[in-house]
Amino acid sequence: MEEIRIGVYICWCGTNIAKMVDVEDVARELSEMPDVVIAKDYKYMCSDPGQDLIIKDIKKHNLNRIVVSACSPRIHELTFRRTLENAGLNPYMFQMANIREQVSWVHDDRIKATKKAKALVAAAINRIKWHESLDKRTVSINPSTLVIGGGIAGITAALELADTGSQVFLVEKERKLGGNMAKIDLTFPYLNSAQQIINEKIDRIEHHPNIRIFRNTVIDEIFGYIGNFNSTIGQNGTEAELKFGNIIVATGLKSFDPSGIKNYGYGKLPDVITSLEFEQMLLNGKILTKEGKEPANVAIIHCVGSRNSDEHEYCSRTCCMSALKYANQLRSAIPEVNIYQAYADMRAFGKGCEELYCSTSRKDVMFLMFDQQKDLPVIMEAKADDSCKMVIEMNEKLSGERIEIPADLVILMVGLEAQDDAKELARSVGISMCGNSFFMEKHPKLDPVATTTSGVYVVGNCQAPKEIPDAISQAKAATARIMATIKQGEVEVEVITAEVNEDICCGCKTCIQVCPYTAITFDENNSVSVVNEAICKGCGTCGSACPTGAIRSRHFTDNQILSQIKGLMSKSLELNEL
């Protein structure tokens, strides 16, 4: 067996790690462990000079295993695997110790943090001795793509892909395409017609030779893996068997239902409407109260269902600007109308938005601030002798005064929330959800449209509330990623699959029962289990169920994990003794 020669690198991550972990001490101490040839610390291991340091050392010291102790492997494991490849080593001769997310950022005692970092690195060093070269595995890419959701994000993605000549299957839950954008009149901040934009796109996808649209259709279950997914889609009583290589999830969000907020009387007071209902009014071309009269006073209440611990704590991002848009539309439709904006905090970020705020505030619009956390305005019917239909009582925060606002029409700026079937969808495509039932991206900064499931992307509102340009940007980003894999024709996938040692397999079929993917079949001739590596996703459940130890979970073998435990404990206990 070849001599084990390990290089260990401790990252400072600027001050992120170095301020809480004595990185030099960690490097010094770990350099004394058996088989460690060299141990160094450096400012930023992931930077080009940091990676070059590893490559040079591999060549100079003939290293054959590398441990990097830095951030989470979820962020840079692939980066360093590529570094090893560049130096001519097998990428799996690498192990990461997470001393940022799981040490320096969560502990506040430098001595204890340094001790723990040493134990984690020792664990990685002990583990890597059992690492083995694993061959790359590639799978071919079916050039078709499934797009789930026919709103602006899904439509954009479908068109981008279809225009390159690839087949797209677009699945829409409702009968109509266009999603939320088809339900609004104008867009902010430039007050362009939403209908004009979306209808042109709908028209294009409906007549695109490369796009097949499934309306009134819900995805039930998807099988397969990146490059080779399949699903049976039922439509109008017939079933279609679709095969596709990538999936774009663009299922959007729905409007918050304000019936539960007592103060606002939605559902009881006829002229309290949601922003979505007001959009319908604008699309119909008439702003009227239920009695069919033009309102003399219109109040717009912000943050309905948003930024409040009783409903949703997040900001829905689009409502403030929509509310300003309404003020402009009201002013031009009914020049004499009194417009009141009851807001919590005006959020006018983004291109052209602060400008919209400034220009709107010059149009004789009254801005009144309330406390969104503790003190919501109360909408009530006006007295018979009042000149308006409703009165809104609120504590105006800036003046500190209790005021009454007259209103004939109240528009509730309802926030956005997850679709009712978000959880089922996440399950059927195999992606995770973060708080608030938004779909989770692979990394919030470094990989914002991919997911932890290869070949599945999340774009638009379903990932988090956002404006139309952001949704479109995400859609285009995801299609660029997909087109790259289509052009390559194949993609590398993880090789951490299971394998059966046929010599010690006793043929009990336990592994076949526990496999969630039917990736294991039984070879009747030899009475042994056989793993189909194309289907196996490497969860390792079979490995831990196998009574004879015949199944190895590659890269998470018994020896690797047991050595990791041993390395961790012995260093930990050794340091406890001191």
Binding site: E101, Q102, V106, S544, L568, M569
Partner: protein, 141 residues
């Protein structure tokens, strides 16, 4: 010197490890006694891993997986749960307090819950005192 327990935590890659990472990115503070070992799925956690941790001197073992129904591999966490209950009985028979091993579901968004769990479990193990399994095993062999 005050007794500082050593705890090994086995976390599944998709939910719990990500949850622990979130505790980090959110700069939540928790006890440094928790040492995390990553596995792809809680279904991969063999009884041998837990026993080996105690044998090597761990005072407590924490196992975290995705919430029921949310497993990245469909149902690995259920298999983990089944094994956990059997293993609990086994630990008791060995003379170990079954509370030295805990199974909890931590989703990718539950950084706060993970930090609280880490503190809570550390305090529990601290109150139980050092696990003597390693010592006993060494005397016997």
């Amino acid at each position: 010197m005050t007794y500082e327990p050593t705890i090994i935590a086995f976390l599944c890659n998709w939910c719990s490890y990500t949850g622990a990472d979130l505790a980090g990115t959110s700069r939540m503070k928790y006890a440094s006694n928790i040492n995390i070992i990553r596995v792809m799925c809680s279904g991969r956690i063999e009884p041998m891993f837990v026993l080996s941790a105690f044998r090597e001197g761990a005072d407590g073992v924490l196992i975290c997986g995705c919430h029921p129904g949310d497993c990245h591999y469909h149902e690995g966490n259920y298999k983990c749960l089944r094994r956990f209950h059997l293993l609990q009985k086994y630990l008791t028979q060995m003379g170990l307090n079954e509370e030295r091993m805990r199974l909890e579901w931590i989703s990718a968004s539950e950084g706060k819950q993970f930090a609280e769990l880490a503190d809570d479990f550390t305090e529990k193990i601290r109150s139980l005192g050092p696990c003597k399994l390693k010592e006993t095993a060494e005397t016997l062999t």
